[in-house]
């Protein structure tokens, strides 16, 4: 920040001070006003704090694993402890952080604002979904307190049903319960998008984030019940010895894999689609341009949601399933990559003739594209049948899905959180620190996970806490990267807390963005809009030629 900026900043400070909406959704401070709220914005914040708790526990588990893996012989912990750590990491990250992350926090907060509505369609159900989620989370935590689970997040049978001596049922119950919160959120978003749009807001005038949430919600509603069924069947077999999956009881262990992946592959798209929506918003805003290929991006979300249901068998190429089934799943997996590619090309084309502001959310969005491209392309290696036979269940898979889940989804979540932070809190975070954090996560992430591709092709299987010594160098690099990544995640935590209290007042629309959410005060009033907005044009009516300076110097 140079002195000129600082001077301007002070002037703006004075001018915008009055623009902090005094009477807003955060005005009430009692505990009851939070725990009994039906305001979608407050529920979004309740979710933010809840998933942050699980993200922290799961990250600590990951950090302990990375430290253990520094030495080929391990030595810090027993095999049993290590197995429980990766199970904690996987289950909590997937079901208690990634799946709820963008939909329940950013989606809950901005979806009604984006479509000009006062709230979601079913505000009380929305609050109920949070309570159900917390209850599910407590069950999962109960399972950890009692000693944890050692099945991996995949719960493969018959290990999980007959052989594991850990607290499988309480963990399965936690995930089962949390699933209902996902279903309710999905249903709420679908109805909200159908019924609550402002006058003039036709489907093809919807912001792309709304499209991505809509596609995500369809998957949530259709896939999650299958997971619930699967987990219930595990419990039935484990509790009463009813033969479903264990061949000794007359069951079929491969059946479990079909059921599990029928949910869990679409779940991958639950995790990435909302991130893609965030990136579409951010890229358009900070390129100051109408997004390139709007309809293609919107339809690609739907294509991903539908095709995503038809590729589950690519997790099972070496399970002994039919060769011909493998071929169908392989070709469909190549096809599902196409709509993801379409999005990347359109984002890139949006930059053309833009007026690009390298703000913190934009850095996260650009980082997302880079990491998602690598994650997506390495997905093709896994879709290719013969290569998958070699890399299946190795670190190559670990690297690939972390590029999508962490490089993609978490980066997009951070980008979205920074993008809407001024709307959520009414205040700006320190821009320089934001940029440094974006840079640290990008570099730290690559150092953590890129070596794992090489390690995977060398043959290192996943879920090994001792390994042949020739693999050590890659583990050391990865652990070093993880420490940088950790710094990149802790930094926003600190400056967000600081900025929520002391950050510069943002005003209604610090980014000069076009979405409806920016047409109301920051923080928004309890019912979002003083006057119900009317929409007359397509979204992203930006102009690069008539760009304005954003003043973001805030310290």
């Amino acid at each position: 920040m140079n002195t000129l900026d600082a001077k301007v900043a002070t002037e703006i400070d004075i001018k915008t001070e009055g623009q902090f909406a005094r009477d807003n959704y955060l005005s009430e401070h009692t505990v009851g006003s939070w725990l009994l709220t039906t305001d979608h914005k407050r529920i979004g914040i309740l979710y933010l704090f809840t998933i942050l708790v699980f993200f922290t526990i799961a990250s600590v588990a990951a950090a302990m694993m990375r430290i253990e893996l520094l030495h080929p012989a391990g030595g810090l912990m027993t095999s049993e402890t290590y197995n429980k750590l990766f199970t904690i990491h996987g289950t909590l990250m997937v079901w208690f952080f990634l799946i709820p992350s963008i939909p329940t926090v950013l989606g809950n907060f901005v979806l009604p604002l984006m479509i000009g509505a006062r709230d979601v369609a079913f505000p009380k159900l929305n609050l109920m979904s949070w309570y159900i989620f917390v209850f599910g989370g407590l069950l999962a935590t109960w399972s950890l307190i009692r000693g944890g689970v050692d099945t991996g997040w995949t719960f493969y049978t018959p290990y999980s049903t007959t052989y594991a001596n850990s607290h499988v049922i309480s963990m399965a119950a936690g995930i089962f319960v949390a699933g209902f919160s996902t279903i309710i959120t999905g249903m709420n978003f679908i109805v909200t998008t159908h019924k609550m749009r402002a006058t003039g807001l036709t489907w093809f005038r919807l912001p792309l984030f709304v499209w991505s949430l809509y596609a995500t919600s369809l998957i949530m509603v259709l896939a999650t019940p299958v997971l619930a069924t699967t987990l219930a069947l595990i419990s039935v077999e484990r509790l009463w010895g009813v033969g479903i999956f264990d061949p000794k009881l007359g069951g079929d262990p491969i059946l479990f894999q079909h059921m599990f992946w029928f949910y869990s592959h679409p779940a991958v798209y639950i995790m990435i689609l909302p991130g893609m929506g965030v990136v579409s918003e951010v890229i358009a805003c900070f390129s100051r341009k109408r997004i390139f290929g709007y309809a293609w991006i919107a339809c690609s979300s739907m294509a991903i949601a539908i095709l995503g249901f038809l590729v589950w068998g690519h997790h099972m190429f070496v399970s002994g399933q039919s060769v011909y089934a493998g071929m169908i799943f392989s070709v469909l997996s190549f096809l599902v990559a196409v709509p993801s590619g379409v999005k990347v090309f359109n984002w890139t084309a949006t930059l053309h003739k833009g007026s690009i502001h390298f703000t913190t959310p934009m850095l996260y969005a650009l980082g997302f594209i880079g990491l998602f491209v690598i994650g997506g392309l390495t997905g093709l290696f896994l879709a290719a049948l013969s290569v998958d036979v070699h890399v299946h269940d190795t670190y190559f898979v670990i690297a690939h899905f972390h590029y999508i889940m962490v490089g993609g989804m978490v980066t997009a979540f951070m980008g979205g959180l920074h993008y809407w932070w001024p709307k959520i809190t009414g205040r700006l975070y320190p821009e320089l620190w934001g940029k440094l954090a974006a840079l640290a996560t990008f570099l730290g992430f690559n150092l953590t996970f890129f070596p794992l591709f090489i390690l995977g092709y060398l043959g290192q299987p996943r879920r090994y806490h001792v390994y042949p010594p020739e693999f050590q160098i890659f583990h050391v690099l990865s652990t070093a990267g993880a420490s940088i990544l950790g710094v990149g995640y802790v930094m926003p935590l600190i400056y967000f807390i600081w900025s929520a209290k002391r950050g510069r007042v943002a005003g209604p629309n610090p980014w000069h963005a076009t979405g409806l959410e920016w047409q109301t005060a920051s923080p928004p009033p309890k019912h979002n809009f003083i006057e119900t907005p009317i929409v007359t044009d397509k979204p992203y009516g930006y102009s690069a030629e008539k760009d304005v300076d954003l003043d973001l110097a805030s310290i």
Binding site: T154, Y156, P247, H352, V387, D393
Partner: protein, 314 residues
């Protein structure tokens, strides 16, 4: 082993094909990464805020361009799919004329037995340049038999035979990993493949104490466990004869047909009531719990051996 490598040793015929596709995929990925990253970098510099670039008449879409970048990746995807599928088909089809090895996975070790009867634990000795076919089964949870140097992997499933084959091209020692998480000591369920010159392999096979062949062991079980009491031409019980049975179609009591493969033989021993041969009563007792996985494999090996003989006249 012990040195720094970027690629695993390429020690089987399959490895060459898999690596070729891997490199092709890497090149294609690098191509897309370069194009996308360069485009982003170029636009980010040229169109950074305040730059003097021409921003007039920006485009917000073109169906022609969209069709282009939809079609080209689709066609490339289909081509890559075909390459992967052809090799996969080869990997999954067990070739004839192979050295047969029976593999039983259990928490947390590999038990292997050669056709000649020689047993190994967590080690597999094989000759170079000869096809080796494994028949695998687990006696508890799912495991996976993975030899990175050969680029092959196959899940080892309880209750179900799977197969895996490779043709080593280089002598040496290579890792065996269990790659499917199987419980506490999963990471210790490792071993090595020793690929030897054929003469050395013959010497190794004859070393140590002499064991009976798998077929011979199966024959002993066939008589010792009472199978021959019923499945014999002069038996007083009406039971099907097993000579000439292997790989032949078997008519079942419910009117369907089934091929008498390994899985059918296994199921008939353990769950005889599951598939009743047409014209026979459901009188066979289950041997589930009375035979180990190794013994079942030996019995099947014997049934295969007599299954290729001419069926006797009853």
């Amino acid at each position: 082993m012990g040195k720094f490598h970027l690629f695993p040793p390429e020690a089987s015929t399959t490895a060459r094909n898999v690596d070729a596709l891997y490199f092709a995929l890497t090149l294609i990925s690098l191509f897309f990464i370069t194009v996308i990253f360069l485009a982003i970098l170029f636009f980010c510099i040229k169109y950074r805020r305040g730059s003097p670039a021409d921003r007039s008449n920006p485009s917000s879409g073109s169906n022609l361009i969209e069709l282009g970048w939809t079609t080209v990746p689709t066609l490339m995807g289909l081509a890559l799919f075909t390459c992967g599928a052809i090799d996969y088909f080869r990997i999954e089809r067990k070739p004839g004329n192979a050295i047969d090895v029976q593999v039983v996975g259990k928490q947390w070790m590999w038990k292997l037995q050669h056709a000649e009867g020689k047993r190994e634990i967590n080690e597999l000795h094989i000759p170079v340049d000869q096809t080796v076919a494994l028949t695998l089964i687990s006696q508890d949870v799912i495991h996976s038999f993975f030899v990175p140097a050969f680029r092959v992997k196959q899940d080892v499933v309880p209750g179900k035979y799977t197969s895996e084959w490779f043709k080593p091209t280089r002598t040496g020692e290579y890792h065996i990993f269990c790659s499917q998480y199987c419980g506490t000591q999963h990471a210790q369920m490792i071993g090595r493949v020793v690929v030897m010159q054929p003469q050395a392999y013959e010497r190794w096979l004859k070393s140590g104490e002499q064991t009976e062949s798998i077929v011979r062991a199966g024959e002993r079980l066939f008589h010792g466990r009472g199978c021959s009491g019923c499945h014999a031409p002069n038996s007083k019980f009406h039971a099907p004869l097993l000579e000439g049975l292997y790989r032949k179609p078997v008519p079942l009591a419910d009117g369907t047909m089934v091929t008498a493969d390994d899985q059918y033989l296994r199921d008939s021993i353990l769950q005889p009531a599951k598939q009743i041969s047409a014209g026979y009563d459901n009188i066979m007792p289950s041997f589930s719990g009375h035979l180990s996985e190794e013994e079942i494999m030996q019995l099947i090996a014997y049934l295969k051996a007599i299954g290729q003989q001419e069926p006797p006249q009853q």
